[in-house]
């Protein structure tokens, strides 16, 4: 089948997946102990009578499948509910927090990918040498570092003690210090630096490990022997023959990570009070704002499905075996 057919079929396959995600979400809401009303409308000060009226209005007396259809139609029109804590529609809140989170994600994952792959290749090329040992050890340290602790420690060292970078937030808040124009962007970047480094370090470590492992596996393959027998230079073999094969699984992992972007953000944003979706979710957790959390779960799940789709398609573009079978 051709590439176009593959992309088409794969996209089609995503639709039942999204449906499943929505269904799963629905089941989750209704399987929680207690009343969905409480979960969906929070600890508002309502009397028992009013609860009944709400239930009636919300159609909770209806059979379950009816409720699901209502839920489905609401979701499809973009109505993810109303956050009682923030007093805003959930979807608006997400839209507000999205740019900040995206900024953080791109600042951390992209450099981590590039540097991680390069280091992983170097480590694999000189396997078991001192350079490899150094890189691998650093990688496993970085990978084991709890991100939130790393954040806290870096705030301690770089903000509190050294004062090099601001500790919290995305911008400096004092009116007197409010900046505009270029100053504003510099300010944001200063605030971005620490969280991006802390979060990026974990991704970097995991990509180094993964690339190295993948490269080592590929370098043992037979076609590398063929390449060597052609008298090609080592670097040529490394990049033209080995890397092309080794990067495929790495790509899958990066794609998955990007899909799970919001989950990764929660912790870092909490530590650094970075005003993105992560902080939003943290507030939802603390205040038990289930509508917000459910909405977040749904959005994240759909993102993952979408990210998987994109990753699979990219894989199909790069690996000829998929589309020509």
């Amino acid at each position: 089948m051709s590439l176009r057919t593959y992309v088409f079929r794969r996209s089609l396959y995503s639709i039942p997946l999204v449906f499943f995600v929505i269904l799963f979400n629905f089941i989750l809401i209704h399987s929680a102990p207690g009343d969905p009303v409480i979960y969906l409308y929070g600890h508002l000060d309502v009397s028992g009578e009013q609860m009944e009226i709400i239930r009636e209005q919300m159609g909770l007396r209806d059979p379950l499948y009816r409720q699901f259809l209502t839920y489905l139609s609401r979701i499809l029109t973009g109505d993810l509910g109303y956050s009682f804590y923030f007093r805003q529609p959930v979807i608006e809140l997400f839209a507000q927090g999205l740019p900040a989170t995206l900024m953080l994600m791109f600042a951390s994952i992209l450099p981590a990918t590039v540097i991680g792959v390069i280091l992983g290749v170097i480590a694999a090329k000189h396997a078991r040498s001192r350079a490899d040992y150094l890189i691998s050890t650093l990688a496993i340290y970085g990978y084991s570092f709890p991100v939130f602790w790393g954040g806290m420690v870096s705030i301690l060292i770089f903000s509190v003690w050294l004062g090099w970078f601001p500790a919290m937030g995305m911008t400096t808040l004092t009116a007197a210090q409010a900046k505009t124009g270029v100053d504003y962007y510099v300010d944001v970047l200063r605030h971005l630096f620490l969280p991006a480094i802390v979060l990026g370090m974990w991704y970097l470590a995991s990509y180094v490990r993964f690339t190295r492992a993948s490269m080592l596996e590929v370098l043992e393959k037979d076609y590398i022997i063929t390449a060597r027998s052609k008298g090609l230079e080592d670097n040529q073999i490394l990049f033209k023959h080995a890397l092309r094969n080794a990067l495929l699984p790495v790509l899958t992992v990066v794609g998955l990570n990007l899909g799970m972007v919001f989950t990764g953000a929660v912790i870092t944003e909490t530590v650094f009070a970075w005003p993105g979706i992560g902080s939003l979710l943290q507030a939802g957790i603390v205040s038990r704002d289930y509508t917000l959390l459910m909405g977040g779960f749904l959005i994240t799940s759909i993102c993952v499905v979408f990210a998987n789709l994109v990753t699979d398609c990219m894989y199909a573009i790069l690996d000829p075996r998929i589309t020509y079978k």
Partner: protein, 287 residues
């Protein structure tokens, strides 16, 4: 027949251990973990103070009296760390064990029986991998209550897919080997074959998965507690970090020490996992 097989398995284990001990870090890692387990098991005898005892000596920096200082409620950080280790490690192990049990069960059935069952189970596994599990854990814990029990169960039940894959790969390749045919010819039933013949030989990669899972579970539990979803009735390292974030400028020791413990524990398990993988991989062994 069985005894010669046991002898062979034994020989495999001893040569495996020999290979493993060549990896210095892994041996150190094992030592670190053993030390930690011992210390936390002996918590009542080792901790210098009562971890819950609130005093007026708040925010004391580390000294010879309080090796790790005191926290915002005057409690000795060292004692809290030791006692906290108990729960953190316990949760880690239990959650990982649950994940391994479920994963091996599913993977074994998929790999051994193959066919439609394999397809079905693998789709289930893939589906699970797509769900943002940490988020799911967040949701479930916040909805169903954040008790230690809940946390362990949920962490365990959301992290089995990776183990399932590993188990499936092992069972798939091992069930094609000749000694399995021999066992079948002798009349061994499927269940018996899976447990007595395949499982002992599939152990090493499963052990690797276990090590990684414990590391993961400890990190996840700490993350959960850090976000405020931990069991407030118990002390864990993550809980301590949650409490420490507000007072960082006042007492860095409150945050640094528990985090250090998490770091070393997770590091140790990861290195052990790496050491195990190296010991299993023949090609990279020779220099």
């Amino acid at each position: 027949m069985i005894s010669s097989q046991t002898r062979e398995s034994f020989a495999r284990w001893t040569s495996f251990w020999r290979e493993y001990s060549k990896h210095r870090g892994a041996v150190i890692g094992l030592g670190v973990i053993t030390a930690m387990i011992t210390v936390s098991a002996l918590a009542p005898y080792v901790a210098p103070f009562d971890p819950e005892e609130i005093t007026v000596d708040r925010w004391l920096p580390p000294s010879s009296h309080h090796l790790m200082g005191t926290d915002n409620m005057g409690r000795d950080v060292l004692s809290r760390t030791i006692w906290g280790g108990r729960i953190s490690l316990f949760i880690g192990f239990v959650a990982a064990t649950i994940a391994i049990l479920v994963g091996v069960l599913i993977g074994a059935m998929a790999g051994y029986f193959g066919g439609k069952l394999d397809d079905l189970l693998m789709r289930l596994t893939d589906g699970f991998m797509v769900i943002p599990t940490f988020f799911l854990v967040l949701l479930i814990v916040s909805m169903f209550g954040s008790t230690t029990f809940n946390i362990m169960i949920v962490l365990g039940l959301t992290s089995w897919p990776e183990t399932a894959r590993v188990a499936r790969a092992e069972f798939l390749s091992l069930s094609k080997m000749e000694f399995i045919d021999a066992a079948r010819v002798l009349g061994a039933g499927d269940l018996r074959i899976m447990f007595f013949h395949i499982l002992p030989n599939a152990f090493p990669p499963i052990l690797v998965a276990l090590s990684m899972r414990v590391a993961g579970a400890i990190l996840n539990e700490a993350a959960l507690s850090f976000l405020g979803l931990g069991d407030i009735n118990v002390i864990t390292w993550g809980q301590m970090l949650h409490g420490a974030i507000r007072y960082m400028a006042l007492g860095w020791w409150m945050a640094v020490f528990p985090g250090l413990c998490i770091f070393f524990t997770v590091l140790a398990f990861n290195i052990i996992g790496d050491g195990l993988t190296d010991a299993l991989n023949p090609r990279l062994r020779h220099r």
